[in-house]
Amino acid sequence: MDAFGMGLVAAMGALATVAGASEDIESDIGSQSNPNSQVQLAAQVGNPHRIYNKAIAGEPPSNALWCTTAAIMAYVLIEGYHMPLLFAVAVGASLAALFNGVMATSAYLGRNASQARFNQWIYLDIIRYTTPSIMAHVWITSFCITLISTIQVYVLTPHHPFPIPVIALIWGLTVGAIGSSVGDIHYGGEREFQWRLFGQGLNTMLSGQIVRKAEAGLRNSIDNAWFCAKFGGPCTGMGFGLTVFLDNWRTTVFDPVTHAGAAIAMGLFFVIVMNLYNFYCELSARRKYGPYPGYKGDIAA
């Protein structure tokens, strides 16, 4: 264990937290992944809307694409043209943001054109002012993840044997998986349906009845970022940050050559602690909220 390595792992954890948060907010502005099924459904049940409809292949593959794109550009610039690392990563992230812009607009155009029979219009101003905001968040995500990959390969010891683009691909898949499992619940469970009773999931009867109006005028997708940045985004960042930090921390503190057993035992310890924490969450939620009043069955609470 050395102080430099610990500093790097801490930096990676911080970068991962930022990446996770921006990934989730990006998917909320664009309305991607699972909650988008309700946005898609809204027009079909007679509620045309002015919310972005960016269905790019689910979050994990799409984030893997942004991160890999940034990583190949950075890798080419570093290895082939000997550019400074930070500059190369920034150029890569910019390319990833451009790719994202193309995919996002094509998905918006395509999904809405395929709902012509439900009178869902294509609004060009939505493309014009929402897309740059999505691209900006992708820039942050891919910048952080490419930087994590380069740190793992070039700086942190032991150096990772995989090439940078493959590591970026895997972290991209992971951050997408975390973003769609964690942050999207805040968007889908709370933001899309703010007028239903609080304290329960969406009743199936209300499917598709999303909130379409804002405090003034019609709701747009940038409003969703404002809401989800308060809790969903930070939680996603926490999830991805924990993954990157804890996973690398144990192999940095305990040398994998001489103390492999300790590194594995440390990981198991984290896993057990997280299991107990979830049990605590379940227990406290049950105690504080109690059973639902309308329950008619005969099983005691």
């Binding site: 269905a55 593959p61 794109t69 439900f118 009178n119 294509i122 060009l124």
Partner: protein, 275 residues
């Protein structure tokens, strides 16, 4: 999620058999054409032809995704694209390696293609017989998909390495990790078109044009990789060709979206019926 055309299959103007023949034959011929041009001229400037050949495979794959997913497979569209590229990675490297070991060098593309379509067909059989999907076109859909994934990987790998030799592909594409971008960008080129156009009014031509557009982006990405492996001239040419393909098909796609949408407005409130 079940969506779109329902159990009757998606309506289509272009016959899937025709697309399959054009897709497979076109990509094989394209890759060999690129290889011949590169070997005859002794340069690597024609590597971009390999990337164009991959576009044939992409169209085939996008059409297969469209046909299979119209039945609803329960796990969303992305999984099937990942499956196609997962099969393609193993198949393409196996083909190249086996051809080299048997001393028939350039026949690797054919071996990879044959292996992958057989594998795809078997997976389709498994899905229908063991898991009870009962999707009548599952076998041929996966036959097309795995073939398309393999041809996309081989085409773009050629665009990065400029050679069909196993050692070159491993050195330029695998050891550098550039296969990751082929894997994910090729996968999105196959699965994004149908996913992005999902809905009851999805049209075949719009979906396929979208596929070629994403393929153009993948060509730009492989061109960037080629900047390092093939040198500045070949890489830049590939980027320019990729950009031209992307631009042409993006504009075309926008035109088709305007054609199919119920209205395209600069700004405005909701449709009068919905307010």
């Amino acid at each position: 999620m079940t969506v779109g055309g329902g159990a009757a299959g998606a309506p289509q103007a272009l016959d899937p058999k025709k697309i399959r023949i054009y897709g497979l034959v076109g990509s094989v011929i394209g890759i060999y054409l690129a290889w011949i041009l590169n070997s005859v001229t002794g340069t690597n400037i024609f590597s971009f032809v390999g990337a164009l050949a991959a576009l044939f495979g992409v169209v085939l794959g996008a059409n297969a995704v469209r046909r299979v997913c119209a039945y609803g497979i329960g796990t969303g569209v992305p999984s099937i694209g990942m499956l196609a590229l997962g099969m393609g990675v193993v198949a393409s490297l196996f083909g190249l390696n086996l051809a080299e070991q048997l001393g028939v060098g350039v026949l690797g593309v054919i071996i990879a293609l044959v292996y992958s379509v057989v594998f795809g067909y078997v997976i389709g059989l498994i899905a229908n017989r063991v898991m009870g999907f009962n999707i009548p076109i599952m076998e041929e859909g996966l036959f097309d998909l795995s073939g398309a994934g393999t041809m996309a990987i081989l085409g773009w790998s050629f665009a990065i390495s400029g050679s069909l030799a196993y050692a070159d592909i491993v050195k330029d594409v695998f050891n550098t990790g550039f296969l990751a971008i082929i894997f994910i960008c090729g996968g999105l080129a196959i699965l994004h078109p149908f996913n992005a156009n999902l809905g009851p009014d999805e049209k075949q031509d719009r979906t396929l044009v979208n596929g070629v557009m994403v393929g153009g982006m993948a060509t730009i990405a492989t061109g960037i990789c080629a900047l390092m492996t093939l040198g500045f001239a070949a890489g830049m040419l590939e980027i320019v060709v990729g950009f031209a393909v992307w631009y042409y098909f993006y504009v075309w796609y926008f035109r088709l979206a305007k054609r199919d949408a119920s209205a395209v407005v600069g700004t405005g409130l909701l449709p009068p019926s919905a307010l």
